[in-house]
Each structure stands twice: as C-alpha cells, then as structure tokens.
Amino acid sequence: MRRLALSDEILLSVQQPARYIGGEVNMAIKDPAKMDIRFCMCFPDVYEIGMSHLGIQILYDMFNGRDDVYCERVYSPWTDMDKLLREKDIPLFALESQDPVKDFDFLGITLQYEMCYTNVLQILDLSRIPLHAADRTEADPIVIGGGPCAYNPEPLAPFFDIFYIGEGETVYGQLFDAYKAGKSRGGSRREFLEAAAQIPGLYVPAFYDVTYNSDGTIADFKPNNPHAPEKVTKELVVNLDDAWYIEKPLVPFIKVTQDRVVLEIQRGCIRGCRFCQAGNIYRPLREHSLEYLKDYAVKMLKSTGHEEISLSSLSSSDYSKLPELIGFLLDEVKGKGINISLPSLRIDAFSLDVMSKVQDVKKSSLTFAPEAGSQRLRDVINKGLTKEAILNGARDAFLGGWSRVKLYFMLGQPTETEEDMKGIAYLSEKVAETFYDLPVEQRQKRVQIVASSSFFVPKPFTPFQWAKQCTKEEFLRRAWLVRDTFQEMKNARSLKYNYHEADLSVLEGVLARGDRRVAPVIEEAYRHGAMFDSWGENFDNDLWMAAFDACGVDPDFYTVRDRDLDEKLPWDFIDAGVSKEFLKREWKRATEGTVTPNCRQGCAGCGARVFGGGVCFEDKN
C-alpha cells in the first residue's frame, strides 16, 4: 500500500479526507528516484475545485508522458487541514508520492482567478518555501505560475521565479531540457532562470525593474539582465489536434465540481465581447477536428467510467461541426446511461432540439447571458445578443416545455445609465410576458425567471482595460436600483433578482490591474489570515482594507482612477497577440456604441493573425 503523509487521527478528523490521499483512478505512478525532474502541479484552491480543472489534467498527463519527469499534484488544504498542518508542524506534500513539496524541482501554480492569490502564499508557506523568490536557495523548487492571471503577473511578481504566459502545451519541454542541462552541468538557480528567460513565453520577474512617475503611474519597465527580452510573447498551440490531450483523465473518489468528461472542442472565441479577457487572450479561435473529438470522447468515457460528458469552449454554438458532433454523441451514448451536458450554447431552434433530447425539460433551466439590460449597452460591450433573439428563443423554449430561465447580467460596465440598469428588470419582465402571452395549453402553468448580476471588473488585454471601475457604494446603488425596479414589474412574482458581493469585485479589480506595489498588500493580508477569499464565508474585507492601510497602498488608484490611453500599463511588456492599437480602437468604438463584427463576419485586425492559424485562415478571410 502507498504510504500516506498523514496519520489516521488527522485524516479522520477533517472534512473529506480523500482530498489528501491521492490514489485516484488513472493517477500516475512512477519511481521518483529514477526521475530527473519532479514537478508538483498546484491549483491553489480546494481539491474539488482544482480537480475539476481541465488545463492541469492536460499538463499532468503530458508531463508524465515524459520518461524523465514525474508530475504530481497538490491543492490548497482546506481551513481545517491548514490548521492541523501548522499545529503539528507537517510540511505540505504532493498527493502521489506523499513527499514534501519542498523536495520537488518545480512547483507549478495555475492562476485561474485573482481571488486565489492568498492561497498561493498559503501553498508556499505550508510547503516551507520562502514566499519571496529572492530568498530562495538552490534547495528550493523553482516556482512557476501560469494561467489567465499570468497575463498580468505583476501583483504576484515577487513570489514567483517564472511566469509562463500562454498555453502550456508548447514550451515546457524546452524548460525541462534546460533544467536538466543545467543540473548536469552543476549550474546555479540564477543560470537556469537566465536560460528560462530566453525561452519564448517565459517571464522571469526578477530580471525586470520598474520605475514610477510622481503620479504613481509606471515610468519605465525594462530588463535588468541581458538574457531577458523586452517583450514576452504569449505561447499558443497553432493546430489543436497536434497538441497533447488526455486519454485517461484522473477520476476522483469524491464528487468534484466537474464530475464528468470534459471535451474541449475549440479554444478562443470569435465574438469579441469587450469586457471578456478570455475572448481576447485566447485569440485566435482554433477548432479541433470532428474526427479527433469523436475519438477522444469515446476514449475518455471508457477510461473514466464517468456518466456525463460536457463540451467545453467559450461559445459552443460557434463550433462549425456542432450538429455532427452532438449527433455522434447521441448515437454513441444512447442506452449507456451517459448524459451530455452542453454549456455555453446559444438558445435557438437547434440547441432546443438537442437539449430536449439530452435533458429533462421540466427539471432543467435555460440560460441566457445578455450581460446588459438595454440594446444600447449591449452594443457598447459588443454583445451580439438582441432582445428579439432572447425573446424568440425563450418563446420556443416555453413551447418546448421549459419554464425556468436564468439571465446573467453585469452591472457597472462603461457608459451604463439608469435606463440600462432598469433594462435588466424590463428585459426579465418581457421574458415573463412572452411566457404568459402563450395560450395556457401550450405552456407550463408558471414561469420562473432568475436574473443575476455580477459587478464589472475591468481586465487586462480587453478593450475595457482603461475603464474606470465603480466604487463599492456605486455598485450597490445600482444593484438596489435594479432590485427596486424588479419590484415594480407586473410579473414580479415570477421574477427573482440576485446580485453578487460588491467588496469582492472591488478587490478583484485591484488585483486584476495591479502592479508590483500590490504584492506587499497580498502578503500582509495573508499574514493576517486572508485565505480562500473566493469563498464567501472566508472573505474578510476589513482585513484587506487594513492591509492596504498598513502598506500605504490606495486601492482606488487601481480601480476608480481614469487611465490615460497613453499610460504605461503594468502588463504592457506582454504581447498577447491582440495589439494595443486594436484594443484602443475597440475602446473608442465602445464609447460610440459601435458594434464590431465577429471574426467569421469580417476580420477586425486584432493582431492575432500573426500566429498563423485558426479562424484567421478559414477560407473566407
């Protein structure tokens, strides 16, 4: 039997001991002594969230495909375990070998959302790796960060040795080879980092200096080491079918958030919503071939035994072979007790037909994401969805037997007026009226419409990266105005309105567009107990505000300030494919309310064509 790092006494006194024992189906088992490189892959959140992440599963499998690398996993110990590890002085360990993380060559941490930043420090701290890269010795692992938040790595700069900008499938091989070469030469940590800095897509923050103007904006950002390039260009897989994909995903013992086969059908998005970071940084859209997806769907269902398969992409309806793929899956899984889940589908006749085949219409709900309440504001944010499309889709759905609708909105987007805010309630009311206008024998008895709004957080590498964010008070004022408007609606009894936490969105705004001066605040907050900030019950806004005070950092500088278009932004050294000129153009068009066509309607010249693949090279362009 595998040795466990923790005793029964400890494991049986925490929630979900299975979070800490590994041993899942399809786990990689290797002899660490025979490996040149031991890599510990981390998702800095609780196991059930981390295990649901596709990217880690791909990299885990890809790394373990090498004979010289053993990739293992670690997740944030939940608060009960965190406490025990500290009390009993037990170092954090990887799930596979149960060996301390500190003994590894690499610790790779994926940065999927800003609110996990304190958990990054928790992982380092519990592993007994110095929080600051500058304090690490030859004996410490190389700490490398990746994922969407690495597109503005600056608030985390002091804590990481390397950031990997872009898609992980491309240059890890080069990095491992450089590490092995250095190790066999007896080279130093610094020499290795210099070699890493020369690999495309890799950013070594210690090799760059930042200076600031008297108004607090960045004066200069430049390399201090001859091996570090001025610009770091994101890495990207040009042909998805050639990239590594998993045949045997890990199957956890306990129920995790994504307890199903996840089939990534495409990467990127043609839509160009102006608030959306993923839609910009993953450009251009690249599709998997139909044959490839059929093959992997069958293999992964077989190797996992999962009872559900989910198609993953930013906008599944844009996949060019969707009807063929869904037709295949319906044939393949029929009678096998396997469900198909289809998130991010545009509601139309086709999707309703498909959904009626794969789900229980009476129990399921339909989701629309208009993001804004009025057509004017939807044009500003470049969200192509029209009121007619929503109401037509809803009417067809009601005729098909659905009676529950979810509507997603965002409050606080640029140029938003009170009319736009009230529009959220008006649009929801219209959906309800569409239902009650139908003859009673052609629909269910009652309709239930749940509208929820999140608060807009401007993100780097979007046309809204210059936008002013609302204050907490302003966010709440807007949410209350929407709430009150809902109460005035004729069908108020069929409508429900929820809104998110405003504090959290403000803090997310600071971390998203922060610079290196925000790092001490994260550390200060962590030292005072901030952790699992994305979990409502653990988030303590006062603690964070005290940390800003203690560090003399003004959060408003990062959120509510007007940014000049010529200001040097903390992430300007990264080339994400979409050019700054394009983003400026889009920002201007937004303020004019001008819609930009999607990539298949016409090229908007975003800059991602330089990668030489994807939608940019589909015949019509």
């Binding site: 039997m1 595998r2 049986l12 001991p17 041993g23 013992f253 035994g305 009872e307 129990k363």
Partner: protein, 290 residues
C-alpha cells in the same frame, strides 16, 4: 480506501461498471441509474476484508472473466474477489444482512500494558447476563441490552501471513477457543436449493488489505436494518465496564465477513451463512432476457 465514504464508494463502483463494460441494467427515466446495492454500508475509517454488492445485468461473462475485467480498471486498495450468480427471486443482500464479523486491533502505541488482564476483563464483560448501554439515536438516547446482539466476542491471535494466503480469502484470524467457524457454518447450512439459483443478481465481493493483528478482539455482532451494532459501541461498553476511558483511535477495526441468517424465526435460532454462499460461480458467458 477507508477514508472514502459509502456514497463515494457507490459512485466509484458505478464508474467501475462502465470502465469494465459490465452489461449492467439501468432504471428508466431521464437520469437512469444502475441497478446496484450494497449489503451493508461500511463506516469511514473502517477497513474491510470483503464487502458485498448486488447488481443486475443483462448479460455476463464467466465469474473469472468478470473479475479479471473489473480488476483491470480498479485502483489500488480495492479488488473484486468474487462474482457470483444469485437467484432472480433472491432478496437483496441489504435486506438479508444479519450479522458481521470484525477484528479490532490496537493501533500502534495504544496497547494496554497488561494484555492478559485486558482480555480477562473482556471475558468477564462478555460473560455478564446483560450488557446495558445507552445508544445515541436520531431521536435522543435509547437504553438497550447489548448482550443478545453480540454473537461472539473473544481474543484472536495472529496467523502468519503465509498461512493466511494459503487459506481462502476469508481467513483473517483464528479464534482463541474455536476453530474457524465461518466457513464451516456455511457448509452446514448449504444454499437454498441449487435449482432456485439461476439468473441475474450477482454479488461482488470487495476486498481490502488483509490486516491480521496479533492480540486483537474478534467480534460477531448483529448487523442490518433492525439492530445495527457498530464495533465502537461494544468497545465503549467494554471500557466503561473496565472503568476506563476509550480514547479515540485506540482500535483499527476491519470487517471480515457479512452474513445472512437462514435460521428462521422458530426453533434452532440463528444459522449464519456468509453472503458469498448464497450465490454460485458462473462458468460461462450468459445472456438474459430483458
């Protein structure tokens, strides 16, 4: 495996069925589920040397082949050791469960200083005409007499591993006073008529690691839906009797066998047979009418 709760073990086996392409029957409806049930949920923290679950299938290969297929997709610490056919009219394992054997071993560092006097006290405890305890239930506390529900309670000594491996998979310990009674009991009772044994319901036995402790406590207790006695409750009563506090994590319990009672209500009393004995080996591939 002992850290995985019962519901997750069920989910685990549902996925095993799909990975191994077991032609299991599904219920109808929009979210069909597999026809599968466990004989007796095992508490978190307990080891087991054999659990039973019933499944219904449309077709099957031989027992040997099905065991091979399932074990090919199993994770470490879990193994299918038996796959047997049950009569179509057989009651579910869950409704048949009447008793279970447990071996409770002292965890490292938790042994009493004087083992002999511990077991002397144990014998004295078990010899009492009545063993009154208070059992915590959902509705508060309940007074009950444990004595008639503890079928056996005694000391077991270590059996060398080789000996155990040479014997059948149920070999877990040898009773201090009796020769291994379990398999013998099974043979005595036999199975309810070979003719009645044919289709569809198949028990599967899950095996954990066989941990054979020296100086451990053997318990056979009433198990099932009416009176489900957990070993912890018995040990708590024993320690109360000895005037000692039962510290948490004193014992590691392992379930060794689960029984049905074929004795009936009237005379004679209990006739316990391992659930294993209720099924028959499948020699070749078989298809059943839906």
């Amino acid at each position: 495996m002992k850290f995985i709760g019962h519901l997750d073990i069920m989910r685990y086996f549902q996925k095993v069925m799909r990975r191994a392409d077991v032609d299991i029957c599904y219920s109808g409806g929009f979210s069909p589920h597999q026809i599968m049930s466990f004989a007796a949920p095992l508490g978190v923290g307990l080891l087991s040397n054999g659990e039973y679950l019933d499944i219904e299938v449309n077709s099957t290969d031989s027992s040997a082949e099905m065991i091979r297929r399932m074990n090919a997709v199993m994770s470490e610490g879990m193994e299918v050791i038996s796959y047997r056919r049950l009569d179509d009219s057989a009651k579910s394992a869950m409704s048949l469960v009447a008793a279970a054997d447990y071996v409770l071993a002292f965890r490292p560092g938790k042994k009493p200083e004087d083992m002999e006097s511990f077991f002397a006290a144990l014998a004295e405890f078990y010899a009492q005409p009545q063993i009154p305890v208070t059992k915590k239930t959902k509705h508060g506390e309940k007074e009950m007499d444990l004595k008639p529900l503890i079928y056996r309670m005694e000391r077991v000594r270590a059996v060398p591993d080789e000996e155990c491996l040479a014997a059948d998979s149920h070999c877990a310990g040898v009773s201090d006073r009796l020769s291994p009674p379990d398999s013998a009991a099974g043979q005595d009772c036999g199975v309810p008529g070979a003719a009645a044994l044919n289709e569809k319901k198949l028990p599967v036995i899950i095996s954990g690691a066989v941990n054979v402790p020296s100086d451990a406590v053997f318990l056979q207790v009433c198990t099932g839906s009416t009176d489900n006695i957990k070993p912890e409750l018995v040990m708590k009563a024993l320690y109360d009797f000895m005037g000692l506090e039962l510290a948490p994590f004193t014992f590691q319990a392992e379930r060794e066998e689960v029984y049905a009672d074929l004795g009936g209500e009237e005379e004679g009393g209990r006739k316990l047979v391992p659930l294993e004995a209720l099924g028959e080996n499948i020699e070749q591939t078989d298809h059943y009418q839906a």
